[in-house]
Each structure stands twice: as C-alpha cells, then as structure tokens.
Subunit: 254 residues, 2 copies
Amino acid sequence: MAKPLIVVTNDDGIDAPGIKNLVQVAAQFGELLVVAPSSAQSGMGHAVTVNVPLTFKESEMHAEHLAYACSGTPVDCVKVAKHILGNRKADLLVSGINHGENSATNVLYSGTMGAAIEGAIANIPSVGFSLMDFSFDADFKAAKSVAAKIIDQILQQGLPNGVCLNVNVPKVDPEGLKGIKICRQAKAVWDDKLEKRQNPFGREYHWLTGQFESADTGTDSDLWALHNGYASVVPQKFDLTDYNFLDSLCNWEI
Amino acid sequence: MAKPLIVVTNDDGIDAPGIKNLVQVAAQFGELLVVAPSSAQSGMGHAVTVNVPLTFKESEMHAEHLAYACSGTPVDCVKVAKHILGNRKADLLVSGINHGENSATNVLYSGTMGAAIEGAIANIPSVGFSLMDFSFDADFKAAKSVAAKIIDQILQQGLPNGVCLNVNVPKVDPEGLKGIKICRQAKAVWDDKLEKRQNPFGREYHWLTGQFESADTGTDSDLWALHNGYASVVPQKFDLTDYNFLDSLCNWEI
C-alpha cells in the first residue's frame, strides 16, 4: 500500500520550532509535502492573498522532505500545496504546531486553524495543533505525543466531509497530561485593549492587546479541558449557517 | 428615545462607493460611527493585526458623520470602533456594501463578513451586505433598498447572541429583485488556479484565481437565491463546533 501523502503547514513560518516538531511526527506516518509561510502569519485567520501576487520556492528547511516557503497566508499555503500536488490528492493535512493556544473563539483569528479549515474545504481530512505556550523554545513533547495519536486515528477512521479538528495541548510534561478530551468550542472572547504609543516622530500608534475572558462554566468546553490538564479536540465545520435561527428569521417582515 | 448608535465598516476601504451607499442608508436610522480600512482589505477574512501596530485617524470622507480610517483589517476596525466608543455600546454594526458577492464558503474569506462576525462576537447585532457586482461604478439601488429593510428589522427584532446576518444582493434593478429569501450557506467552493507570470527581472510569481464551483442543487441555498433573482439572508454563527460529530469522535481510541 502507498504511504499516505501528508501536507504540513503552519502560521508561525516555515522555520518555527513548532512545524519542525510536527514534521517529525508526521514523517512517521507518510510522505510529506511542507508548504509554509516564509514569515510569521499569526492572526491571519482565513485570509487569502488577492490584491498582490504570491511567490513560493523550494526550501531546505526540512531536510529530506519536499518543502516550499510561500509569501502568503496559511490558507494560501494550502492552495499552493494543492497546486504543487496537481492530480495527486493529499490523504491528510496537518497544521501547526502553533506556538500559543487556539481554543474558543481564537479559532476564528487563527492562521493555524485557517489552514486546517481550508484543508477541509478542499475535502482533505485536516487538523490543526496548538500548544498553550507562546515561547519559541517551548517543550513540544506532550503536543507531539497527542499529535501522533490524532494523526493515527484520522488516517484509520477518516473525517466526515466539511469537518476538521482543532487540537490544543496544555503546557505540561507528557506525564502530566491527564488525557485527551473531545470538546465543544468555549464561549469566551477577547476583552480588547488598544495600547497607545508614540513613534519617534510624535505620531500615535496602537498595539492590539487585551485579556481573554470566559464566562463559560461548562466542563465540556475546550477551555475547561486545557485549564484542567487535558488536551482538547473540537470538531469544527465551515458551514456557519445557524440552522436554529433560520425558522424565526422566516417570520421577519422583509 | 435616543437614536440608535450604528457602527459602519467595510473591507473595500473607507473611500469605496459601497460604504458611501451604506452610510446613506444607515444614516436614516441612527447616529453613525464609521471606522473603515484606509486601503482595500479584500480577502482578509477574520484576520487581525498582531505583528505590527495599528494606526487610525479621523477622516473627512463621510461628511457630517464621525469617521476614522484605520491601517488594519476589517476585524481591527470593529475593535477600534469599540475602543472609540468606550463605555457606549453600539446598537447595530453594518459592514459593506461589498463590491462582489459573499455567498457560500466566501463568507470565510470575506473581510466584510469578518467584520460582521467580529461584531457578533462583541455582542452587537451585526450584518454584512454584499452586491453581486465587482465594478466600482456598480448600481447600489437594489442593495440599498434591501439594506434598509434588513436594518429596520434588526433594530425592531434584534438578533440572538452569537448570530449575525450575511446579506447578498444580485445584480438587478430594484424592480427586477424578486424578493428577499432566508437561506442556508451553499455547499460551493473555489476551484483554485495559480496563474504563473514572470516579473521584469525573470522571477516567477503567481496570481491566485479560479472558478467558483457549486454541486449544491438545493433551492434553499444562498447561491440558488442569488442566481434566481432574490437577495439572500443567511444567519451565520461563530461557534464552529460540529455538534453532530461530537458523539462519534468520543469513540476514537485516543
């Protein structure tokens, strides 16, 4: 049987430690095509590059694996990977391992998950991995063991059309990880702050910052899992229709 | 009673004809705060600016209405609007009118809808409007009449927490519009093409282009409505959890 063909991407850039760790895990399962941004693309969500052209070129970054650095966003990288593969179809797309968590509504801002959702749109079983540690020298051991289990299961069981997985791992040793929990996306949002500064020429600028706030007390959410020592797995879909509200809307006078 | 406070934004930029038309409609219903990108931000989806600072400054672009041009994405504009309002809470957020449709999976790539979804995350009743005509001198008459009806209904009826509306209008005269249809998001995706070019210095670059392809034959989709002369209204939510798949996922061996 042919080895599975696995596309690897991320949003922290092709040289980030997170993607190096993910390449190591994915290489145990199949043949890899790495297409990742040439520079950091955090917070790019599902952005695509339409107003300027894209460039991509082969990279030596991932040793024996075929790898390309792309000028665009994580979603662009998925489109470039499909272009490079031509008639071959990927069996799996893995994105990450992100330096920083992507739980709750962060899934919308996340380039890591933008790529995974784009994979699902392209009908490729897809998963994004994120570690609850922003530091560049984070310890990826626990995240790698979770990623190996999830990749193994996706390759065995597949994923339904239109669904990808959002996997987050807390900052713990592999021995400290309590397990892997299937969750829903927590109802938690950013309380944004715009921090004002002045440039050397006297002009104002702002940094977008803030606190992530949750009023969600459910024990079935991804945030709960992460804060209680579990890795979280949320099945995410790209049909955003709120079917529950469709009927009431039909009563509007329009 | 105080006039409703309405935030207006878009993704085509503060000087686009679409937002000028939307400002005219919204001004009939309340007091406006316009915060829009200083340059075109098409395809930015739910991107936020995290790696560089944001700037924003007052703009004369919208005559008597308080308006700011922002260096960032449509989602950034919503965050800046909240910052400017401080303790005041907007009663409504309107985004658009986009030059080009945002039906089906385009909702994910759309900066227009990124802003509307961010409005919903901030618990502001929010709606994005798009016209199925990319041209800068498009006729916005039909779109304006639809926008007026939808704004009126949202102000009267409200929207549930966590839901915003995605409104698309076909390229027709107001008399040619068959009506407004409540729809689900169509199952249709881009068949991407990367068009290869060479720059004057011999280096390769690519334009991301393609065909929008639909195998969705349902008459309840937004694409069907638009191709049959109706404006479409899809309620969209930002909880991406696929609740139907949660149970099967619990049987995985992880």
